[in-house]
């Protein structure tokens, strides 16, 4: 990019930051409609039980209660709460196994009934009056137990509780031959963590039918159009009879790629004939909305003595919990990430997705890549130790380069893993620190690293289309209208910077219209780090069209040809003679208030479907101190080297990476989604027991944005960045622990108890 950028690359204030700093921003939980009822859900207290009878008559008679619903009152069809099947090329992958309200309790917290009443206390009182007769069934909480013959069956159709067997469809080479040819084969089994999203705004929804039967839903969504279509299919309504509005969203991280409480809320509003707001408590959010799959992952790697990888294989048992949700897609991504990070001639992977009587899982930031890469990157360190070479040397020997296929199989326009590794190594002082003595005392120092590649969307597996529309007002400002949601990642600020740069106007001249299916065109959703790359490209197309009209009108005014003009800083000027110019607002105003009958509301539309999928890259270094007496791990420092192409707003991108450091730290060390082995109940049911990191826990951090290779297919050189941000941090921390005390973490999170136990085992075998 030889031209100077005036808006892109600047640390501009985030979209709506003022509203958020003053408390004016409205979130779903803040919405209040006239006559709005409060919804509450009756959750099963048993992990597995047949519902013999439900008597709701007493609850219905309670004054103030307007609707009580059970399985009989909801659509009698199975659905999958993930939106992905609507855009997947192979939609049969995601099984439909869920009713809006369950016909049988499959986990502690399963939805048995719901009420809508004039206020929260009446609704809670009504829940107590619903009489449920259960036939308690034996339950199974562990996937290995669940696969054994004779185990209680969570869903009738799933023999041995295996919902789906997946053979990685694009395996290549001959993996057995690859292992035979290897000098060293290393195999290890890991249990990844069932980590919960814990967005700070609890899951909520408001639903209201108008007099014509048209439904408006206010709810957080990362896929407004797909969610609208899902609701339409579920409730037998045409899509056009539903309007989905996303208010401000208090954190998403993949959560709103699934339904939250919308189907129940809509069912209540329909029955009551009044608007209903349904808001989960933190406890309900933790057990009632999706967490990560827990993978029991066996990774196998074959290498030659010089470190060349000859074969990679992954076998997964996927503890998806009580319902299927995203299991197929996340597992596919897990496999693709495991086999796709390094050059390797022989790869294979397979998985069994398993039902258990624990809360269901779904799509969480990283979406399988986090887990697949964690397993691989820990294995790489174990292998390096076995063959006695530096783990970075092993990586450098096998990493991919530009032109190689990425983790999606599409060829990479750029690949900067090598550059990022060298940059990080120097910055952190890898060689000196790695050689440092671990110490003989109880506090042992360690340093580790890991790498990753992610995606800029789900091309070629899903429909990835999007639209942007730009229209000028008479004052020279422009509306940018997109069907996407700002989930806190500052997508709207990012798109505004792209639009302003392309149009030649200022950042504050862009006024966003978003989050409303009535006013915007289709977008396939905020997932897989696609939004900046894909919608950014649509914005550029829309802006170019609008700019063309703008220049054509200005050309008449300036008496030159349109191609002699350009726009910058709110001025349209003659390129050869910049002193000759006209202001943008003069042109836009005259185009609208035109007395010669040549009216034009200057505007442009862009529709974009990607053909490429440039991966962002990360190289992460972590330093830890492990206390061998208490088992406590202190994360001292994290260095994050990231390539997301050009950073449209560096502060925004840094914010994603810094946030991911905290989330990964929680995943790796403290966030234990703990199910009671007797009762099946979630014990870590609030922030006092499910420990997400606070400011006090945070290590020193440094984030480096490597921007030397803007990606040609990206908007002004940008690609994805947010989703994959956790991926390399977790294995870097685990590898640092391994370096510090020689204990290899195979069960996340690495709590002090597990570290102590592992140290004890290590001592016993020495």
């Amino acid at each position: 990019m030889s031209e100077e950028l005036l808006v892109v690359g600047k640390r501009l204030p985030r979209w709506q930051a003022h509203a958020k700093a003053t408390g004016a921003a409205k979130y779903t939980v803040d919405i209040k409609l006239t006559g709005m009822l409060v919804g509450k859900v009756l959750a099963s207290q048993y992990p597995h039980a047949r519902i013999k009878k439900i008597d709701k008559s007493k609850a219905e008679k309670l004054p103030g209660v307007e609707a009580v619903i059970t399985w009989d009152d909801v659509p009698q069809k199975l659905y999958n709460p993930s939106k992905l099947d609507l855009i997947l090329r192979h939609p049969e992958g995601e099984l439909k196994d869920m009713y809006v309200i369950s016909e049988k309790a499959r986990f502690v917290g399963d939805r048995i009934a719901a009420v809508a009443a004039i206020d929260a206390s009446t609704a809670e009182e009504a829940l107590k009056l619903i009489k449920v007769e259960y036939e308690v069934l034996p339950a199974v909480f562990d996937p290995i137990e669940a696969m054994k013959p004779g185990a209680p069956r969570v869903h009738e159709f799933a023999q041995n509780n295996i919902s789906l067997h997946i053979d990685f469809p694009v395996a290549w080479g001959d993996v057995e031959k690859g292992f035979q040819e290897a000098d060293v084969v290393v195999e290890e089994t890991f249990r990844t963590a069932k980590n919960h999203i814990c967005q700070i705004e609890p899951c909520a929804c408001v639903a209201s039918f108008d007099a014509d039967g048209r439904l408006t839903v206010w709810s957080p969504s990362q896929h407004v159009f797909l969610h609208r279509r899902k609701l339409a299919e579920l409730f037998d309504m045409p899509e056009g009879m539903i309007r989905w509005i996303t208010p401000h969203i208090g954190g998403a991280f993949g959560k709103y790629g699934s339904f939250g409480v919308e189907p129940i809320c809509v069912a209540l509003a329909k029955k009551a004939g009044k608007p209903v707001k349904l808001e989960y408590s933190r406890e309900e959010d933790l057990f009632g909305t999706e967490a990560r799959q827990r993978y029991i992952a066996t990774g196998k790697i074959g290498v030659n003595k010089d470190g060349t990888i000859t074969a990679l294989q992954e076998k997964l048992i996927v503890d998806g919990g009580a319902y299927f949700t995203h299991n197929s897609s996340t597992t596919g991504v897990n496999m693709g990430s495991f086999v796709g990070l390094y050059r390797c001639p022989n790869v294979a992977a397979e998985a069994d997705c398993v039902y258990t009587n624990v809360p269901p899982t779904g799509g969480v930031r990283g979406y399988g890549n986090h887990e697949g890469t964690c397993v691989l990157e820990q294995l790489v360190d174990l292998t390096a130790k076995k063959i006695g070479i530096d783990p970075i040397e092993l990586r450098l020997k096998n990493i991919k380069h530009a032109g190689d296929p990425s983790n999606t199989g599409l060829p990479m326009e750029t690949c900067t893993l090598e550059e990022c590794i060298h940059l990080g190594m120097e910055k952190i002082g890898w060689k000196e620190k790695r050689a440092r003595k671990k110490g003989n005392g109880t506090k042992r120092y360690g340093i580790g690293m890991a790498i990753m590649m992610d995606v800029s969307g789900a091309q070629p597996f899903n429909i990835q289309s999007t639209n942007a529309y730009i229209k000028f007002s008479e004052d020279g400002s422009a509306n940018l209208i997109v069907g996407a949601a700002d989930i806190g990642q500052n997508l709207m600020g990012t798109l505004s910077q792209i639009a302003a740069e392309t149009l030649g106007i200022h950042y504050e001249d862009i006024h966003i219209v978003t989050g409303d299916t009535d006013s915007s065109m289709f977008d396939s959703g905020q997932h897989a780090s696609r939004s900046c790359y894909q919608i950014g490209n649509a914005v550029i197309m829309a802006a170019r069209e609008a700019k063309k009209q703008l220049l054509e009108r200005a050309a008449i005014k300036l008496g030159v040809a349109a191609d002699e003009l350009d726009a910058k800083n709110r001025r349209i000027y003659v390129k050869a003679d910049p002193q000759k110019w006209v202001s943008v607002d003069e042109v836009t105003k005259e185009a609208i208030y035109n007395f010669e009958g040549e009216h034009l509301n200057i505007s442009g539309k862009g529709s974009f479907s990607p053909t490429q999928n440039p991966p962002p890259f990360a190289v992460v270094f972590a330093e830890v101190e492990v206390d061998t007496e208490t088992g406590e791990v202190k994360l001292l420092n994290v260095l994050y080297v990231n390539d997301s192409g050009r950073a449209i707003n560096p502060a925004t991108l840094e914010g994603q990476l810094e946030g991911a450091i905290a989330q990964s730290m929680g995943y790796t060390l403290t966030e234990d989604y703990f199910i009671n082995k007797e009762t099946g109940a979630l014990e870590s049911d609030n922030f006092n027991t499910y420990k997400i990191p606070s400011a006090l826990d945070m290590p020193e951090t440094e984030v480096v944005l490597y921007e030397e290779q803007p990606v040609p297919s990206g908007p002004l050189g940008a690609k994805g960045g947010a989703q994959g941000a956790m991926v390399a941090i977790t294995p870097a921390i685990a590898n640092a622990i391994y370096d510090a005390v020689g204990v290899f973490i195979t069960d996340m999170p690495a709590t002090p108890e597990k570290i102590l136990e592992a140290l004890k085992r290590k001592k016993a075998t020495n």
Binding site: A21, G250, A252, E654
Partner: protein
């Protein structure tokens, strides 16, 4: 339950309200007065999202009965700016990119105000300690801490 009449000063404005004895301060603010800037995220005083200032002291409004603070002076996020002029902490949160989803922001900003009112020149470590009870899932706290330190500097300059 019998409602009681109680007086409060909220964001410098006197209120005389009919209050149910079992409602919490956050319910009073959000549901009765539509001051939805104060957020409730855990309901048990573990996350700090509902932090407001009562007579200048940080208070978890989800764990405080409304009637327990009758007669007191309450500051919520809606009362922090002076007209259209933002408080230096609010401005610093915007300038430093300390806001992502924004749901923890009101509690975080008010906690920062309490911290800086007491300690106008904190170290980075003291800011971490001061904000230790306020959870954020988006930012990793880096830019929040930057913002509080930047605001402290602005406020010191303003005071001198």
């Amino acid at each position: 339950m019998r409602k009681e009449i109680a007086k409060f000063i909220i964001n410098s404005r006197p209120y005389e309200l009919l209050v149910e004895p079992n409602i919490t301060l956050v319910e009073l603010l959000r549901e009765q007065l539509d001051l939805t800037g104060t957020k409730c995220a855990c309901g048990v005083g573990e996350c700090g999202s509902c932090t407001i200032l009562v007579d200048g002291k940080p208070t978890l409004s989800c764990s405080t009965l409304a009637l327990a603070i009758r007669g007191k002076d309450i500051l919520t996020i809606e009362g922090l700016a002076q007209g259209t002029t933002l408080h230096p902490i609010q401005q610093a949160f915007i300038d430093c990119g300390a806001i992502q989803c924004g749901f923890c922001t009101p509690g975080m900003i008010l906690m920062a105000k309490a911290l800086l009112d007491e300690n106008p020149n904190p170290t980075r470590e003291e800011v971490k300690e001061g904000l230790g009870g306020n959870l954020c899932r988006c930012t990793g706290y880096v830019k929040i801490i930057d913002a509080v330190l930047a605001a402290a500097e602005t406020m010191r300059k303003g005071a001198s």
